[in-house]
Subunit: 225 residues, 2 copies
Amino acid sequence: MYTESIEDYLKAIYEIQKEEKHVSTSSLSRKLGVAPASVTSMIKKLSEKKLITHKLYQGVKLTKAGRKIALEIIRHHRLIELYLAEALGVPWDRVHQEAETWEHVLSEDLENRMDAVLGHPTRDPHGSPIPSRDGTIIEIDSIPLADLNPGQSGVVVEVSDHDPNLLRYIAQMGLYPKTEVEVISIEPFGGPITIKVEDISHILGIEAARHVFVTGATGVPDEVI
Amino acid sequence: MYTESIEDYLKAIYEIQKEEKHVSTSSLSRKLGVAPASVTSMIKKLSEKKLITHKLYQGVKLTKAGRKIALEIIRHHRLIELYLAEALGVPWDRVHQEAETWEHVLSEDLENRMDAVLGHPTRDPHGSPIPSRDGTIIEIDSIPLADLNPGQSGVVVEVSDHDPNLLRYIAQMGLYPKTEVEVISIEPFGGPITIKVEDISHILGIEAARHVFVTGATGVPDEVI
DNA sequence: CATAGTTTTTAGGCATGTCTAAAATCTATG
DNA sequence: CATAGATTTTAGACATGCCTAAAAACTATG
């Protein structure tokens, strides 16, 4: 078994890798809230354990073994999030925080039991995919709600789960995964977006709209604008 | 918050205190599986934090603050044991092990949710009392099954939970908490005990019988023997 | 294309909690 | 009541993972 710290680093590397390709010391330092020097020394350790590859001054990459562990932890995290929401009624803005500590102490047996109780789910409460036991993960292509054009509509796939305030804000408008949403208008210069969810109009800050991801955009296409 | 290690020491001290009055360095060393020297240095730290009192070469005692923490952890442990058994169907010989790690990462919110889902239970799957949130714990007076005389019967209150093999052995005979059991005969010189549980006779090793605690013994009293 | 500014690494420390070996203290017995 | 044997404590080390300060290396711009 690996330490909690190692698991956190591998998970962070996976998550940064997903959206930035290049995983730098400083990005890890920011994400994990530790000093850059601490990251460097952990990078050394992870390299020795063959969990990542590292070229000096050029960032890191997960090896197959490292990726496997990262996905295991992410599976734990998301199963726990869903379990807490479904079985214990924990509000969706708080499940992330709880899962952060639980993910490291979940035995394989309990993982399987939760998975079974939940009916082998594929998405957590924020819409993020739950990797399967063998490390398969199905990401759905999606774009930020903020990138839709007025008149277009789509279905919410995923919302980012780190900020409880954001989640509560998003929940107020019913922007849960699988909900259809239509963009009515977008004010220029970073202004708010007007959307319609289940026939009700809402005004949404652009920053929030960047953290809601939708798919299957239809309606007025880009070219017509 | 305190470290996992500190919580483990406090819990261990509480448990030893309960059955031995005098909590020595060596008993803690044995219980926690660490070297005596390690115990000594932790004792120093716990004393400084006013969680225990310590007289050189004379053992330790929990302070009020230390006892409170110990009971909080024990409450976590036993709630989790029961929750895992009830909600996730974990067999009773395995819940202890799982709870050992979970007890340290249970938030107050989840503690309360589990408590509510379980209907504010007072006993864990092995019959041990679950301390209430304010630290009240109700121990039921009981004696080892091994101490009953032939002809006496009682109700199982609690079984010791540390050894999965013992628990499986005990379960085979249906010796769960709340079950009535009658002692038919006891072979001398540490020989086995014959018992009757739900009209079925079983032969039980004396060692196992020492780990099953019963109350309300009736039938042939001591004096008649 | 030199250099100022940023990023990363090295060097050296610290806290936690463990260990072994040796010294100090206690205790039980002859 | 002295002392052998057990228990406890002290001394010194080590692994983990964090830190700050300073050096090294990269990169972007005038």
